[in-house]
């Protein structure tokens, strides 16, 4: 089945960076497995817990523990509401996941909670932007949520928390269309910064966007020496702050190139170009595997 333009009238930011386009297509067609596996559970826990800390503006360990417990309740309720039950592994090991995420949240609270010059605008804020491009017959509506929006001195800043991905390189971040899209959405789109009253604003400002690499909040598991700087770390030392908060450094001069890349991907999706890109590990974890064609005796898919 080929996704139509109307099915893709709205594109989520994460569609743009999925390693397997086929999965994007199957997701848009609703062909996903209604489960909450461990990786998704941990990610949701972290996001909810950190949002809770910002909401209460308390950052000590008891506050983190309370935030994790509250987050666990919210994640469980969400899973139930969306008919996405926990996998058996999550159901049996929820407390282990919570303890592991708690360690990360405690480190985040201790090291990255708001500095005096930071003005928190909000967590999990809905954002929308309609982009036109010469190569697209119809404009494309982008929609997403911003994990954390704040102002540091006069600069608007965006944090995007990542728990599941590999450690990103500088070159990868500089070419990351998902985070680039956040950057353009803040510049040109509208952000709902009062969700209760449904009040949206247009900042019209360039922002700084950071990939917050949550796994790097954990201390080093073994001794490590940075070959570039010569700095040595013992087992148990904390990783440097710039290993956690990775600023992307997007520059307005490159806006056109980024728009072209976004339009290219949207054009591919609208044209029904969703090749499956098998992954040695990812295919075994994919939430759409039941509907993805396979070529052995088992077969399957459409």
């Amino acid at each position: 089945m080929i996704a139509t333009a109307s099915q893709l009238a709205e594109v989520h930011t994460s569609d743009l960076m999925d390693a397997c386009p086929k999965r994007v297509q199957l997701r848009h067609e609703g062909k996903i497995i209604g489960e909450t596996p461990g990786a998704l559970y941990r990610g949701q826990l972290f996001h909810e817990a950190v949002a809770g800390l910002y909401q209460r503006n308390k950052w000590d360990r008891p506050a983190c523990e309370a935030a994790i417990l509250a987050a666990a309740r919210v994640v469980a309720e969400t899973a139930k509401r969306e008919n996405r039950p926990f996998t058996e592994a999550v159901a049996n090991g929820a407390s282990t996941h919570q303890a592991e995420v708690l360690d990360l949240v405690v480190q985040y609270a201790a090291r990255f909670h708001p500095m005096p010059q930071d003005k928190i605008i909000g967590c999990e804020l809905p954002i929308r932007w309609t982009m036109e491009h010469p190569s697209l017959p119809e404009p494309v509506n982008f929609a997403s949520h911003i994990d954390l929006l704040f102002r540091r001195d006069t600069l608007l800043c965006v944090y995007d928390y990542k728990l599941r991905q590999d450690d990103p390189s500088r070159a990868f971040l500089a070419r990351n269309p998902q985070l680039g899209l956040y950057w353009l959405m803040v510049r040109y789109g509208q952000v709902c910064i009062d969700v209760d009253a449904d009040l949206w604003v247009a900042f019209g400002e360039w922002s700084a966007v950071a990939w917050v690499h949550a796994p790097a909040l954990a201390p080093y598991g073994k001794a490590y020496t940075n070959t570039h700087t010569g700095e040595a770390f013992k087992k148990g030392d904390l990783r440097p702050a710039d290993k956690v908060v990775r600023w992307c450094g997007f520059h307005p001069d490159q806006e056109g190139a980024l728009r072209d890349a976004l339009a290219e991907r949207v054009g591919m999706m609208r044209a029904g170009f969703f090749p499956a890109i098998p992954d040695p590990v990812g295919c075994g974890l994919c939430e759409a595997w039941k509907h993805c064609p396979r070529y052995d005796a088992i077969g399957g898919g459409e």
């Binding site: 709205e10 996903i32 996405r84 932007w129 036109e132 929609a143 510049r187 009253a197 604003v201 900042f203």
Partner: protein
């Protein structure tokens, strides 16, 4: 049971009736047998048969709400005609209903277009008379006929549910789809969006209000929702949940009046300041003056 016995067809019990109603697929707002059973039971306690209850009884936020016509029917049939009412005025500007107990007038329930705009009533532009009647009826039921419903009674619209011209909850029959994992549904923009190509579609009332308040207050963008809330409070508009376009228009009229009078933002929105009454600024059509 007064005014109409509840008869379940062919010996069905409540659970079976709920299952049947739900399985019929005719009631889009009720997807589970237990929900149907509760609606039937709630309607039965007010003297309504099952189908009427399925159509006109809603359970919203734990409270029983009734469509206005069902409310009116319940009042008329209660206790052998203890209560009655007469609609004294019914225009797009106001609805006035006089209530009687044992034939004697006990009071008037009036709901005006200004009241409706202050309360953020839905559908005023399309069905003003219907919406005013519903609110006047539900207020009168609370004030003059409390024993009919055994407590406060609300229309679905009062409970914040989207309703049609008959005051019935609007439901979609579309098959719900799950959002992909980690892709939460992003709420729709309440009004026009802008794009990065210098084009913008006409702004809706909330965007217009935000821009006006920004110009008036001089606040930073991220502080505008707080400034708008301050204006709403000073204008006497209570924002519970989403701000409606009608509320935005009302607050806009208040802001325009304050600015025209030369008031400064901080003075006009100070908590101990008595704001200028802008009730007369609202035209019957709904457009702020």
């Amino acid at each position: 049971m007064k005014g109409g016995a509840m008869v379940l067809a062919s010996g069905m019990d409540l659970r079976e009736m709920g299952s049947m109603m739900c399985a019929s697929g005719f009631f889009a707002d009720t997807r589970e047998a237990a929900q149907a059973a509760v609606k039937i039971q709630a309607g039965a306690e007010l003297g309504f048969p099952p189908v009427a209850s399925m159509v006109g009884v809603y359970i919203v936020k734990g409270k029983v709400s009734l469509s206005a016509n069902l409310m009116a029917a319940a009042i008329k049939r209660f206790d052998g005609g203890k209560y009655n009412y007469r609609v004294r005025q019914h225009t797009p500007e106001a609805c006035e209903i006089e209530f009687y107990e044992r034939g004697e007038s006990v009071g008037l329930s009036t709901f005006t277009i200004a009241d409706a705009r202050r309360a953020g009533t839905q559908n005023l532009d399309k069905y003003a008379r219907n919406m005013l009647f519903a609110r006047a009826m539900s207020n009168g039921a609370k004030w003059f006929c409390p024993d009919v419903f055994g407590g406060p009674v609300y229309t679905p619209e009062e409970m914040g549910e989207p309703v049609n011209e008959d005051g019935e909850i609007v439901t979609t029959t579309a098959t719900p789809t799950l959002p992909p994992p980690a892709q939460r549904e992003t709420p729709a923009l309440p009004e026009a969006n802008t794009n990065g190509n210098g084009k913008a579609t006409p702004a809706g009332p909330k965007v217009q209000l935000m821009e006006t308040v920004k110009a008036w207050s001089g606040f930073a963008t991220e502080d505008l929702p707080g400034a708008v809330r301050s204006c709403a409070a000073a204008a006497g508009v209570e924002i519970n949940g989403k701000m409606t376009n009608q509320q935005a228009e009302y607050v806009q009229a208040w802001v325009d009046e304050q600015r025209a009078a030369g008031a400064r933002f901080m003075d006009a929105t100070a908590k101990d300041n008595k704001p200028i009454d802008v009730g007369d600024l609202l035209k019957p059509s709904g457009s702020p003056a």
